[in-house]
């Protein structure tokens, strides 16, 4: 009786990669959306200041708050990445445990 460790690890890595894929896509989409929103806010502030609809003081305050919004978006991105990594690691461990248990049962 010989264990095929190579296949067991290959399958576990495959399971991990498959579990990480949705998170990778979600992170990519969120970065795009965040960049677009940031651009829109900056453009609106610049237009408002240019047409004197927004004073320089209010414009500065809005710019600082735009920075804070970016911080919130970065925090959301951090959650997406952590959740995707967690899903991948747990899928890898589950696959490995299940394959090793099966192999052990066959060996004993």
């Amino acid at each position: 009786m010989a264990f095929n460790f190579e296949n067991i690890f290959k399958d576990a890595v495959k399971a991990g990669v498959a579990a990480a894929k949705p998170g990778g896509q979600a992170a990519e989409d969120w970065i795009r959306e965040s960049a677009k929103a940031n651009e829109g806010t900056l453009r609106s502030i610049a237009d408002g200041v240019a047409t004197r609809q927004i004073s320089k003081e209010t414009g500065s305050m809005l710019l600082r708050e735009n920075g804070r919004a970016l911080e919130s978006e970065a925090a959301a991105l951090s959650v997406i990445i952590k959740a995707a990594a967690q899903a991948a690691v747990n899928a890898f461990l589950n696959s490995l445990t299940s394959a090793l248990s099966t192999a052990l049962k066959l060996a004993l």
Binding site: F3, A19, P22, G23, A26, W30, E33, S34, A37, G40, T41, S44, I45, D47, G48, T51, R52, Q53, I54, S55, E57, T58, M61, L62, R64, E65, N66, R68, A69, E71, S72, E73, A75, A76, S78, V79, I80, K82, A83, A84, A85, Q86, A87, V89, N90, L93, L96, T97, L100, S101, A103, L104, A107, L108
Partner: protein, 170 residues
């Protein structure tokens, strides 16, 4: 006599050695499997529908207030804030404070807490600006930008919570 024993014993000892190595390998694998079986990493808090519901409630109130302000004639906005709209600003701040407290109470939720903190601080900053003497503090352009920034905080809160569903593959 001695050499006979050696010759006869060698294959048996080899077999014993192999059996012992195989036995140890199985034991080590069993221990490793048991150890792995108890392993699961947790870096983010579990998905919380109540958090999404609170964010929805805050979003509705914020968007309605800005909609009402924008629907009011610019010259009358200051008076509206001093009158009927003022208490609504306070109510929304209370909702945001409660949301922050609940987010702080959740384990492994640094990001959710950060977003709730940022939302509250931005709201307070905007509310303060509305009471300033700056004539553009309540212009269409300023209110439009403010609403956009608040929406970004709220969207970040929704996205962060929904991302937690990735953990369970839902």
């Amino acid at each position: 006599m001695l050499s006979e024993t050696r010759l006869a014993g060698a294959p048996r000892r080899q077999l014993d050695g192999r059996w012992i190595r195989w036995h140890w390998l199985l034991c080590a694998l069993a221990a490793f499997t048991l150890l792995l079986g108890g392993c699961a990493v947790a870096w983010v808090s579990a998905y919380d529908k109540e958090s999404v519901d609170r964010t929805t409630e805050i979003s509705k109130s914020v968007l309605k207030l800005y909609q009402d302000l924008l629907a009011t004639e610019p010259a009358k906005r200051k008076a509206a804030l001093a009158g009927a709209v003022g208490p609504r600003q306070g109510d929304i701040e209370s909702l945001m404070r409660l949301h922050l407290l609940k987010e702080q109470a959740r384990a492994k939720n640094e990001e959710g807490t950060k977003i709730a903190e940022n939302l509250l601080e931005t709201w307070q900053r905007f509310s303060l600006s509305h009471r300033s003497d700056d004539t553009t503090a309540l212009s269409d352009a300023t209110l439009g930008v403010e609403r956009g920034i608040l929406e970004r905080h709220l969207r970040a809160a929704f996205v962060a919570e929904e991302a937690k569903k990735l953990v369970s593959g839902k």
